[in-house]
Structure formats: C-alpha cells, structure tokens
Symmetry: C2
Subunit: 395 residues, 2 copies
Amino acid sequence: MRDAYVIGAGQTDFGSFPNESYRSMFREAFDATRESVDSTVDTDDIDEAFVGMVGIGGRQIGLAGPGATSHLGLNGISTVRLENACASGGFAVRQAVQAVRSGMADVVLAGGIELMNDMSSDAAKYWFGVSGEMEWERMAGTTFSGVFAQMASAHMAEYETTREHLSQISVKSHAYGADNPHAQLGFECSLDQAMSAPDVAAPLNLYHCCPMSDGAATALIVSEDVVDQYTDQPVRVAGVGASSGGIGLFERDTYTSIPATKEAREKAYAEADIENPVESLDFAEVHDCFSIAELIAYEDLGFCAPGEGGTFIAEGHPEPDGDLPVNTSGGLKSKGHPIGATGTGQVVEAFKQLTGRAGDRQLDSPRRGLCHNMGGSGGAVTVHVLERVDSEVSA
Amino acid sequence: MRDAYVIGAGQTDFGSFPNESYRSMFREAFDATRESVDSTVDTDDIDEAFVGMVGIGGRQIGLAGPGATSHLGLNGISTVRLENACASGGFAVRQAVQAVRSGMADVVLAGGIELMNDMSSDAAKYWFGVSGEMEWERMAGTTFSGVFAQMASAHMAEYETTREHLSQISVKSHAYGADNPHAQLGFECSLDQAMSAPDVAAPLNLYHCCPMSDGAATALIVSEDVVDQYTDQPVRVAGVGASSGGIGLFERDTYTSIPATKEAREKAYAEADIENPVESLDFAEVHDCFSIAELIAYEDLGFCAPGEGGTFIAEGHPEPDGDLPVNTSGGLKSKGHPIGATGTGQVVEAFKQLTGRAGDRQLDSPRRGLCHNMGGSGGAVTVHVLERVDSEVSA
C-alpha cells in the first residue's frame, strides 16, 4: 500500500455565520488549505474529493459534496458526501487515505462542512437528535445530551469520577482555545464557572457541553509518489483506524466505554506501531462533544486505565506541561463543533502543530499526534496518527 | 491495483412497505445477497461496508450506515453512509471497489436503502427537492420533475425528439419489468397509455416519471486474492468511473447532455478497454428517473450520437431483440426507485443476468453489462462495467 501524506490543511473560523452558505465556507477553508501548502496546488491536480457533512443545516442536503467541490472549480472528478454523524469529517480523511492507497488517486481533497445555526432552535434540536439512535432512543424521548448524561452518571457510579473532573477538562480546553483565533468560544473559564453553570442534562452542565457551530475544514492528502512536488515538510499518515457498532446505548454491553474507539485505536496503533500512546504521542485531539466523552476517550485510547480518566485530568497529564497535551485547539468545547467539519478540523490542528504553525499554543517540536473523531454516542469512530517527516530523513 | 469481483448480490422487493424499517429492509437484502453466493460468507469475513442512503425517510438519518450494518451483526468494522442523491448506491459500489484495490479490505459490503413512503406527501415533495440544487433552483420554485421537464423541452427543441420517443422508452421498461418479481410497477403498459397519461411537468407525463419507492439492495465485492474461496462463477468489475459537477442546470453549458455521465463513462470504458459500447456490451442498466434521462443516457454513454436518442429507441436497439437491451430489470420506471438503493440494485440485475439467474427476462448468455447511476439532475454519476469470468479462463 502506498503511503499517504497531508501536505496542507486549513479551516474557517468556527462560530455563528448567518450570512455564509455551505459553498462559501467550504471555499474559505479550501483557500486556507492551499495557502498552507509550500508550493502551488492547481485545482486540476486534484483527483477526487470526500466531503463530510451531516446536512442538518445549510439548506443543501442531497449532492452537497459535488455542490461544494464544483463551487471550487473541481468538476469531472469523483466527489461524494460522507456521513457518520459527528465523525463525518474523520471518515472523509480516512477515505481520502484509502483512495491514495488504492492507486486510483494521487491528490485527494478531504473536507467537512456544517452550518448549524441556519435553522430554528426547534429544528436544531430535532436534527441534532438524529445523530443518536432514532427508532428506539430518540423517539422514546431521549435527547442527545441525555444520552451522554447517562454515560456520565454510569461512569460516576462505577468509578471515582466527579463533576469536578468534568469541569477541569472544560477549564483546560478553554485555556487552550483562548489561544486559538479560530475558536468559537475562545475565552478562558474558571473552575468555579465550570462547576456552577446551569444544568443541561444532569450531571452535565452548560460548561460540559460543546456549542452549535458553523464552519468548514479541509485537508489535502497525497501519495508518496507526488508528495515531494508539493512540500519538503510532509506530514505522514502513520496510521488510520475506523470502526462502527450499535448506534444506540441499548445495543452495547457498557455505558462507560465506547467499543468503536477501542477497535479504531487498535487498527491505527498497529499501523503506526504504537504500544504506549502516552510515550509515543506528543499530543492528541480527541472528541469532546461533552466533557464526559473526553474523559472516556482518555481510557478508550489507552492514555490511562479504565476508570482512571478522572485521575488523568486531575494529575494534569493533558495540560500544556503534562505528558500528553489534549485538545490544544480548544477541542469541540471551546474551538466549536460544526459537526461535519470537526474530524477534518482536528487534522488541521495536528498539521499546524506538526509543522510549527500553531501560534501561541504551539507545542515544543511535536513529532506525532493523534486525532480521534466520534459519531453520535459512539456508533462510528476514526483514529488517525500523523507524524512529521523531516526532509533529511525522507530524502 | 488488485482486481475486484462481485460474488453475490440481492435485493428486497421495491414498493411501498409501511411496516418495514431501514434495518429490516437492509437485512432482507443482505440475506438475499448471502444466499446468492455459492459458498458461505460469514459476517466475520466482512472487512468494511459502504451504505448509500439519502435519508429522506426511514427516520434514521445520522449514522444510518452503522445502524444498518450493526443490525446484521457487523460490528468493529469501518462502515460509512455515502450520499450523492440518487447515485448514492452506485457510489457505495464504487467505494467498495476502491477499498478492495487499496489493499485495506478483502471482502466489502456495498449497499443502499431508502424508505420514501414513510412520510407525508408534503415532506416527500420537500425532501425529493433536496436532490436538486437548493439555494438557486429549488428555492426559486423549481420542482425536481420541473428540472427534467426543462431538459426534455430543450432536447425536443434542439433535436427531433418527441413525446412518443419518451413513451416508447416507458413501454419498453414496463414490458421488461413485468417479468421482474421484485418490480414495484411490474405491469405492461401500452403506447396509448404512455402517451395519454396526465401531465406531471409538461412535456413529462405520469408514464415518463418513476415512482416513490421503499427498498434495499446489497452486493458483496471481494479481492482477487479471496474470490476463489467464495465462487467459481465470479463477476469481475472490469471498469469503474465516477464523476461530478455542477448540481444545478444553471451551472452547465448544456441542458441536453450530462457532462458527468460522459466523464464517468470515459474512465470506465478506459479501464474496461471499451471503444464501441454497443458492440462490447450485452446489456445496460441506465438511470431513468424520467424517460428523458434514459434517452439522454443513450447519447452520453455513447450508445448513439448526440441527438439520436429518439431514433435509438424508435429503431428498437434497447428492446429485448435489439443490439443492446436496456433496463431489463424494468429500470427505475417499472422496477422502482428507492433512491439510495437504486445504484446497488442495478448491480443486482447485472449480477443476475451475468450468472443466469434473471428468470423470465434472462438474456442469452450475456458476458458484459453496464450500470449507470445518476444523482440529482446530473451532479454525480457512476458507471460500472461488469463481466462474467468463466472459471476455466480465470483458473
């Protein structure tokens, strides 16, 4: 299989942009992506495209993939919209890597878009609900926050996890996000604020939940055969993993772990030859739609043992000076969560960190980072491991 | 690149099934697919899955791919929903071929589902509209039938095309569909009936438009490395082509041709080494959401010259005793059009024809067939060429 590389990645601001369309936001992300590539990428160079979009807003549902790429002047190529709820953007990256590995494409555009503020709040509640299991969960009255509240309650009952742990995660992510000019909620919050916010679905309060966001993010993934034409600072896709499973909590044996995360992790770590992730990785972007999701991800990704997610944050491991900084972008909580764009947006952050473009939140010469993107309450997951390749080494 | 083969394919009846869910229909198609394979396919054998679904009905939108595959007992694999409007099922097959070629998977499930009767007719009209361009066509008042009516009017103005040509196509497809036990409208119609039906969007009448359908179809695509374990009558994917472009008519230079069909055709014919399709192919399943779409497909697929689609049907070429039988399944017009399932359903028909299982509509030992699947009014297209491989030859 041919190796795949990220040669550029960029995004729009995440936030509320009532005057933008899915096309205009996709173009802005694409322009930022092209600018991030060392040399010129012509639209004619691009062989195919994958666009993650759930389609809960932004008007265009059917054919939003070709609608977006055609607007960039990309015609005559295979373009398809992918949807796996909040993991759509991660799967777009995964399928771009597969396209490169297949030999059918040398230069592939992976992207994601979502406009979530382009609707009434009733419609938003309805549509966000469809990312959960519809037939036997949502139609029985569960909300999406309610599903994660159940997971938080179960984790607290089974382990020593507390609301303070959840709030510490939010404080950390907001501190990172305050240094990210693209962040929707780019301000710091105190532990007191994060503890005393109004409940959304107990035990989760407002500071334990990510916002509704508009935004787009794209990345250019190329084959080993052409990477040298575009950059001498390539970022290698060292490992990809994807998995799926029951989309409703009622279909799983556990409320305190996401099986699909573990399965995707195993595949990605095997490809990237990772045994101890805390040693092997220099940072991670994980899927924190709710703070409890980040805490469970620490465990499912093997950063700590099951049940020790609370201790992992309390001891400061994911903080800037910890062994494994997590969500330096601000995460979904502070950076924002335009659901179809989020997974590709994580790759944008990883690309920036690995190529030294992360501004005030830049880590000290990281070599390897992980991106973890989850759909719904865990029905689909991607895990990508990206690594810097020095030109001296690759040459 | 490794060769990909279809080892089995099956579908549900297409029609109106208010008591079914997307899960139950997908299971029925999957069971039929497994039964069509010469030897046993365990669910553990399946490495990944692609599920085409537009999501206009059937309640589950987000994560419908994993929702469907998990219901079959397929957990722990990469599953993703693909959406390219009415070409979603064709892209599911295309991505399954890409997965095999990438070396990441040996056995891949490609499928499509749609439940379109599970909603009010107002909702159906709204949702069907989203397969057209939303921001600048549908919101300006165009309906989906209206878009194809404009194409028909333009074709009639530019060439010698008549309503009788369109009606002859419908008569042919209904004659084929009357022999397909899975067809939704499996009855014959007379030319008089097809000429005098009430208008839907002039010049298109009711017999020039396909129905709203529920249904599912799946196919198992495997690599050359494992094909011999499953069958000694494999069907090779000799060529795949996919393309995309502007999703609105206003974005194109012509109303009488679909550029994406021509581009997808070129790629598929190049892979399959086809210069003269009428000589090289023994049958074709083409995308006839409206009869004018089939007529234009004759031209864009190179079955006849531009403007000669009317003559092509009038001279009987796509009839059972013509040089290139078209839509032996009954096509979208008679077999039905559960939009996410249609592209995979075409592969089901091709598989049956190539392996001698097409019952009363079986052609005489066909060796090569084509499937043409189109999204919206031409924003995305797949073309697949499938061919029978005799075990003596392949061994």
